[in-house]
């Protein structure tokens, strides 16, 4: 991981990028930056990343630009007709599935993970979920599927920023006790501060856990 991926510099870049588009999903992108940094640093060549909370696309683009996969010009083109799409779409670097509609990423991750087990491949599927996104019932359908099939190659990371579109998560639709919920669905649960180095350290730890899917609840202070 490049030294330049420091919190403040990336934040500034994000803010600059989104200042012209009315701060489009700025908060959700800021809180996703550290998670994306960690996951991209951990990702092996054939691992898959699914950005289920597709509206954090700006954070993803900023990271891609730091990695040299997008230019400054590309970033400026955000949400322009011929520019970077406002939500991630299939075909962008690292992006296997278009998102924008919440609640589907974990199911897609399960499908890829099941296919990979069928082939006997070593492949981790990282899926980044928003905490607001957990309101979608499909997330819990998929959470059951992951644990039913003992998909230890599925690693979900919840961006626990305590905010969703129109307010605080616990006021809109309470999530707590969130860890207990995942645990009761058969998942191995880890809670961590939303900092890239801490998440990254945990991601390496998770490789040792076998036989069940794993979720990291990354808490924004």
């Amino acid at each position: 991981m490049s030294e330049s991926l420091v919190r403040s510099a990336l934040n500034d870049k994000l803010k600059e990028m989104l200042s012209e588009v009315n701060n489009f999903h700025l908060n959700s992108s800021i809180t996703c930056l550290e998670i994306l940094k960690a996951v991209i640093a951990k990702k092996r060549e054939n691992d898959v990343i699914i950005l289920s909370k597709g509206h954090s696309a700006p954070a993803f683009y900023v990271i891609l630009s730091e990695l040299g996969l997008l230019s400054e010009e590309d970033l400026k083109s955000f949400a322009n007709l011929d520019g970077l799409p406002s939500h991630v779409i299939r075909g962008l670097p690292f992006i296997e599935v278009s998102s924008g509609s919440l609640g589907q990423g974990l199911s897609v991750a399960n499908g890829i993970a099941l296919a990979s087990k069928l082939e006997g491949e070593e492949k981790n599927v990282y899926v980044i979920l928003g905490d607001g996104e957990l309101d979608e019932g499909q997330i819990w359908e998929a959470a059951m599927t992951s644990s039913h099939y003992k998909l230890d190659n599925v690693i979900a990371i919840v961006d626990r920023n305590f905010k969703q579109l129109t307010g605080k998560t616990e006021e809109i639709m309470s999530k707590e006790p969130l860890g207990e919920k995942w645990k009761s669905f058969g998942w191995e649960v880890f809670e961590v501060e939303n900092k890239a180095e801490k998440i990254l350290e945990l991601l390496f730890e998770l490789d040792k856990v076998k036989g069940k899917p794993k979720v990291i609840i990354a808490k924004w202070e």
Binding site: S101, Q104, S107, V108, G111, I112, Q138, M144, T145
Partner: protein, 306 residues
């Protein structure tokens, strides 16, 4: 001869599974009813039970397709529609190689009533970019079109009834996107899909005083416009027959094309209501005006009053 759509589907799946190791089947806890259970018995490793959760089923199938498999996602038609947004936003938008096969469509789940009778799915699927829509007429067509579908790239929706189909085909080659003219006619042309193809043949037999043609438009999308225009050129009246709403299904597709390219009178025969429970499939079809007798009467009156 009476055959069953779902039996044909289940058996054909096993044949396809032998030929193509990439095929996987996903079920929403209806394997005994859809007959995907035959595939599970033959290939337990390639059968995935997702439970009673059609939305998760479709998005999981999308994951399999991304990983290079050919997933066949199967459930009852009415309940698969609760995953329409997943089909739209993930499968169709990304043009993924997911094959959706639903059974118990139309009135074919007669006993279960309106909740189970799916009369909207053709319209819902037809409107999606990239999605192709197939409605086989009998057990044989189910088997042949299923194979063709698995061999073709991209998202497909195949709509099947439950049981009870009258044999239409006897070993013919069928191609996706090519309608079959089963009987020529000049006064009236009946354009049908699914079980209504066999009913259309029966209607043509009843209307002995008229020259009645019958065509099977098993591919609703892409619609075989060339064959449709040829039919419209020679026939005075076009009648569409489907076990589906007259809004947005086969009748809608035919009327759209003809109104732009060769304006012609089209009578759409189908439904405008929700269904009802019935102990008898054919009695239910008759109640909604979809029996051969009622269709023949309606067509004869239309020709007279033309």
């Amino acid at each position: 001869m009476i055959e069953s759509f779902r039996e044909a589907f289940g058996r054909a799946l096993v044949e396809i599974g032998k030929e193509n190791e990439n095929v996987v089947v996903l079920d929403a806890d209806v394997k005994g009813s859809t007959k995907t259970i035959y595939f599970e018995k033959a290939f337990p490793d390639r059968f995935f039970q997702i439970g009673i959760s059609e939305q998760d089923l479709i998005s999981t199938a999308a994951g399999f397709a991304i990983a290079g498999k050919i997933p066949i996602a199967s459930a009852f038609a009415a309940f698969m529609m609760r995953a329409w947004e997943q089909i739209r936003n993930t499968v169709a938008r990304d043009n993924l190689n997911v094959k959706i096969v639903t059974t118990h469509s139309g009135f074919s789940d007669f006993m279960d009533g309106s909740s189970h009778q799916c009369l909207e799915d053709i319209a819902l699927m037809r409107v999606l970019p990239n999605m192709k829509v197939l409605v086989p007429a009998d057990a044989y067509a189910t088997k042949v079109l299923l194979k063709r579908m698995v061999e073709s790239e991209g998202p497909f929706y195949m709509r099947l009834g439950r049981d009870y189909t009258v044999k239409v085909y006897d070993g013919e080659e069928l191609e996706i996107g090519k309608a079959e003219i089963l009987r020529e006619g000049e006064d009236v042309f009946l354009i049908a899909c699914g079980f209504m193809v066999s009913v259309a043949l029966e209607v043509a037999e009843k209307l002995k005083d008229l020259s009645v043609g019958v065509a099977d438009f098993h591919t609703i999308k892409p619609l075989d416009e060339n064959t449709l225009l040829k039919i419209a050129k020679k026939a005075n009246l076009i009648v569409t027959l489907e076990e589906h709403s007259i809004f947005g299904g086969l009748g809608g597709a035919v009327a759209e094309v003809l109104s732009e390219r060769m304006p012609k009178r089209v009578i759409r025969i189908g439904t405008t209501e929700f269904g009802k429970s019935s102990r008898d499939y054919l009695a239910l079809l008759d109640l909604y005006g979809l029996s051969a007798d009622k269709i023949a009467k309606r067509v004869a009156e239309a020709v007279e009053g033309f």
